[in-house]
Amino acid sequence: MRLRQYLVLKGNIPSGLYIGLGCLSFAVLMAVWCILTYGGVVPALFLPSPSEVAVQFYRMLTELNLVGDILASVYRVSAGFLLASLMGVPLGLLMGSFKLAEGLIEPLVGFVRYMPASAFIPLLILWIGIGDLEKIAVIFIGTFFQQVLMIRDVAKNISQELIDTSYTLGATQRAAFLKVVLPAALPGIVDTLRITLGWAWTYLVVAELVGASSGLGYMIMEAQRFLRTAGIIVGILVIGLLGLITDTLFKALYHRMFPWLERGTQ
């Protein structure tokens, strides 16, 4: 009874099987897509076939400057996300460590967080135009306020006992922050960055749907305007792929940085 053995609550399965299952889910999606399109269930205008999408992808790469759009988008996401992180991580740590900082910042951040970033777009266009800066600002607003609160929780959840231990070993408050709070918070910080980077991509597309002349979001809009459905799908797939790549990179980084989180490693 192999299956029985794999259906244990929180039980482990061989890594080969794990990877295989992941491939299976992709294969099923692909099969459904093929049946729907080649089987003529859905007209090509609504859902082009895989081969049509592949052809369109090649055309966009060679004729329509897809690479340029990708680069423009990657630049905006990176800039917005980096800016948000550079401010969000220290601020969040500060809020989680000092009630004074939390009292000052929390109400404001908590309030702004509920304002949809996309609703700022008209205002931002009015203020700073439709250039890169406006897109970066949208991404910043979309990620920063979430990040701050998530990082604050990470810092808050650090065990007081670990900090106390460092005090009894002679640490000053500064040393306790640098040698206990920071390393203890680091896995949570990396994880938060990984999750919020995904959100940054979402806001990018929203930002590029309005008043853009380059980028993946713009490209998708253009494709829709000319009823190039395959182009829309290429755009979505490319964004998905970029997300998958960064996510994988973050996960690899996580394992590299925190070997101590795994049991039994030396």
Partner: protein, 284 residues
């Protein structure tokens, strides 16, 4: 750590009292206030620990043992009273009072070696000297060869051994131990007790050891303070005249049994008193 300014003491109160005591707990009490509820965790606790002494405090769960140790460590401010170390009033935590906590508190991102060296590194000790001390303590606790492991892959007993080594390597004036073996099984606990006594015989550190286990309190201590709950208070001091070095076998001697019976009697008496007080309180 926010150390509140301690009230100034009259000069006469300070000097004669602390003569000869390494550590003096001077009429310390602690009242916690939570949502308008006042909990007296510790009431007028007063005692001395001499240089090189191994003193155990025995008390039931919730009687304020951890609170007492945290006050001595400087992690908690007492509501009244104060603590003196080498005739000087303490304010805030410091490396002179090492502590082994009830919960596992190894830094998970540091290896066993790095954990033990944590305090030494803070002091700015050069690396070669640090490594020497670390090796010495690894040997002392019987974890030679485990230096490069992370705490995550150690058993509970090993973790507490490393925590003890980390506290000792820092060479504190006194070592405070808060039920360090509380989470361990009976077998491991016995091994750890003997190990700690062996380590103590070699270093003769001043140790204040808190436990809720009567056997442990007698086996380890030069003196046992019996504590009672609600409010936490020292009820009796029992000297343990069992000669050292002690081995596990003393736990079955007549002397040990006598001491245990004495302490059990005391505890029973106190719990009856407490129970009666509650009953009479209900009648009112």
């Amino acid at each position: 750590m926010t150390a509140l300014p301690l009230k100034d003491l009259p000069e006469h109160d300070r000097q004669p009292a602390a003569q000869g005591a390494k550590l003096r707990i001077h009429h310390v009490s602690k009242v916690f206030e939570q949502k308008g509820q006042r909990v007296t965790a510790l009431e007028d606790t007063h005692f001395d620990v001499r240089e090189g002494e191994f003193v155990t405090i025995l008390g039931p769960s919730g009687c304020g043992k951890s609170t007492l140790l945290k006050i001595i460590a400087g992690l908690t401010e007492p509501s009244s009273g104060y603590v003196m170390l080498n005739n000087r009033r303490i304010s805030g935590p410091g490396a002179d009072r090492g502590m082994v906590f009830q919960a596992y508190t190894l830094f998970p991102w540091l290896t066993v070696e790095e954990n033990i060296a944590f305090g030494l590194k803070l002091k700015g000790m050069p690396k070669t000297q640090r490594q020497e001390i670390v090796q010495q303590y690894l040997q002392l606790i019987g974890l030679d060869g485990f230096g490069s492991m992370y705490p995550n892959s150690l058993s509970g007993g090993m973790k507490q051994r490393v925590a003890i080594a980390r506290a000792l390597a820092n060479d504190p004036e006194v070592l405070l131990m808060d039920e360090p073996f509380g989470a361990l099984d009976a077998q491991t606990r016995t091994v750890m007790q003997e190990l700690l006594l062996q380590v103590w015989e070699k270093s003769h550190k001043t140790i204040l050891f808190v436990t809720h286990d009567i056997d442990e309190a007698i086996f380890m201590g030069d003196r046992v303070y019996v504590m009672t709950a609600r409010p936490g208070q020292l009820k009796a001091e029992i000297p343990i005249p069992i000669p050292r070095p002690r081995e596990f076998s003393v736990k079955t001697t007549r002397e040990f049994m006598r001491l245990k019976a004495e302490i059990l009697d005391l505890i029973r008496e106190e719990s009856w008193k407490a129970a009666n007080e509650i009953r009479s309180g209900e009648c009112l």
